[in-house]
């Protein structure tokens, strides 16, 4: 079904659809190195999928400014711009 559809709409549209799909923004895929993707993993590090968008963004901003104490997230948050933080927060908020 899917491949028949793909054949019908052609490659250009597929590429456009892929580009428009919920692909993780820059940096987001790396988070799951420490933040478990699976709910089955036991970790003091929180899962990000489905968290509130504003809460993720605020945490990153506070880590970056040093307002929120951290062991490692202060050093990582400093590598991201406001726009990148917003995009990552928005993307994780939609994940399950």
């Amino acid at each position: 079904m899917r491949s028949a559809l793909a054949a019908a709409i052609g490659l250009a549209s597929i590429a456009a659809a892929v580009a428009a799909s919920a692909e993780p923004p820059a940096g987001a895929a790396a988070c799951s190195g420490c933040h478990p993707a699976s709910a089955r993993v036991s970790s003091p590090v929180p899962r990000l999928a489905g968290l509130d968008r504003a809460a993720i963004a605020k945490a990153m901003q506070d880590f970056r400014s040093g307002q929120r104490p951290a062991t490692v997230m202060d050093r990582i948050a400093k590598g991201f711009t406001d726009e990148e933080i917003q995009a990552i927060a928005a993307w994780y908020a939609t994940q399950r």
Binding site: V18, A29, S32, V72, G79, F80
Partner: protein, 424 residues
């Protein structure tokens, strides 16, 4: 050799141009483009799974000869008697359950123009894109006296498994008062803080079980990863037990004698009771066979896609790659694998890859309840992966023991998390 490679590169440009249309044709016919991933470690395992997640229409084959993967991170805890090797071992059952075809064999050759990988039994696997994640090989013979036979007496334990257990057994069998020597290599090598974590956890074992013993690290360098943190912790935890000898103080090991367990430096000879020789390394063998390794023995890559700078259509991730400022760590390998998978998924559909941002976080244990870390954020810059200015760095030099204890807990949590993502 050089002319051959240049001529080959020219042909490669043509191959890229036509390859851009090739996946389009198979998609239009309803067939899936095939991506072959060689090597089932943190890099290859992550990439195979991420490719399936990126686009389930991509057919993924993972070429890996071992039925069980043995992880290097935390293998120093096995050597120090704090952990069993079984805690390091993972099967590919869940990877296969994702719909990834697993070829349990070795890749022996790559025909980049025909776009096929040759397996040990002669089978040729065609690919739209090839991802090489071969990890490291030892440069046998680079250190005079250190060959595969010598490694049975002076283990490297730099690829986890039997070598890890051999070093542990040697430490257990050593009488109290013995001299343990670790030889650490020049850069670059797998896991830059690894030799110093290992020294720490062996010192932890000796302090508890064989307190009259001594540990010397003979180093081919004058500086190393997390150096100030390690040295401060050693002074606090292992005074008089652990000595680090840098290059400038005669640390460079120029040859070894496996029969007598002697390590020779420019300044003298050290006769060890247990000798752990961490030798010079290079990208895993298939990198050379595929023509993606340069004269350094490692693989130059495009920092956005991890496509080889030498052979189009082949991507290299993990320890084998020259990833600029990114260290050769399991976290980096996993981060690179996901970036590479996203790029490959776009390239096989004819889309342009996006600009990535990558992360590394790397914990070391100085004692079971004393962890330190280095972190970094990376982006392509000037054709390389460069650290984002102002980001990253190591744990604070001054911190309470509660912070060190917290980082030790985060270290273990990281291992559970990343191994679950790759193998769980």
């Amino acid at each position: 050799m050089r002319t051959g490679r240049r001529a080959f590169l020219k042909l490669g440009v043509v191959a890229t141009a036509s390859a851009a249309c090739f996946p389009a044709r198979i998609f239009a016919q309803g067939a899936a483009p095939r991506v072959v991933v060689v090597g089932g470690g943190f890099a290859g395992g992550s990439c195979a799974r991420a490719l399936r997640q990126e686009d389930p229409r991509i057919a993924v084959t993972l070429v890996e000869p071992n039925a069980t993967f043995t992880a290097c991170p935390f293998s120093n805890s096995v050597i120090g008697g704090l952990r069993e090797l079984s805690a390091q071992q993972f099967t590919y059952d869940r990877v296969a359950a994702d719909g990834i075809a697993i070829a349990r064999t070795t890749a022996t050759a790559v025909d980049a123009q025909a776009r096929s990988v040759t397996l040990a039994d002669g089978t040729r696997l065609p690919y739209a894109r090839l991802v090489l994640a071969p990890g490291i090989d030892i440069r046998w013979g680079a250190l005079p006296g250190y060959d595969e036979a010598a490694a049975a007496r002076m283990p490297h334990a730099w690829r986890a498994g039997e070598q890890t257990l051999l070093l542990r057994r040697q430490l257990e069998a050593m009488p109290d008062g013995g001299l343990v020597v670790i030889a650490a290599p020049a850069n670059p090598f797998r896991c830059p803080p690894g030799p110093y974590e290992r020294a720490s956890l062996i010192a932890h074992y000796l302090k508890a079980k064989k307190p009259r013993s001594k540990l010397i690290v003979l180093d081919a360098k004058d500086a190393f990863s997390k150096q100030r943190l390690f040295q401060a912790a050693w002074a606090e935890l292992y005074p008089g037990l652990l000595e680090w000898v840098p290059l400038s103080k005669g640390g460079n090991v120029t040859s070894v004698d496996a029969a007598t367990l002697e390590l020779v430096t420019d300044f003298g000879r050290h006769k060890a009771a247990v000798a752990n020789v961490i030798p010079p390394q290079k990208a895993g063998r298939i990198a050379d066979a595929a023509g993606v390794a340069d004269r350094t023995g490692w693989c130059p890559i495009d920092p956005a896609t991890f496509e080889s700078k030498l052979v189009p259509g082949i991507h290299v991730i993990g320890d084998a790659a020259i990833a600029g400022a990114m260290p050769k760590s399991a976290f980096a390998a996993n981060s690179q694998a996901k970036t590479c998978a996203a790029a490959v998924a776009r390239l096989v559909t004819g889309a342009a890859p996006s600009t990535p941002k990558l992360i590394n976080t790397c914990y070391s244990l100085v004692a079971p309840d004393y962890g330190i870390s280095v972190a970094g954020v990376y982006a392509p810059s000037g054709g390389q992966l460069a650290e984002v200015p102002g980001s990253g760095g190591v744990s604070p030099a001054e911190a309470p023991r509660s912070t060190r204890a917290a980082e030790a807990i985060f270290a273990e949590a990281w291992f559970r998390t990343i191994t679950a993502e790759v193998f769980g």
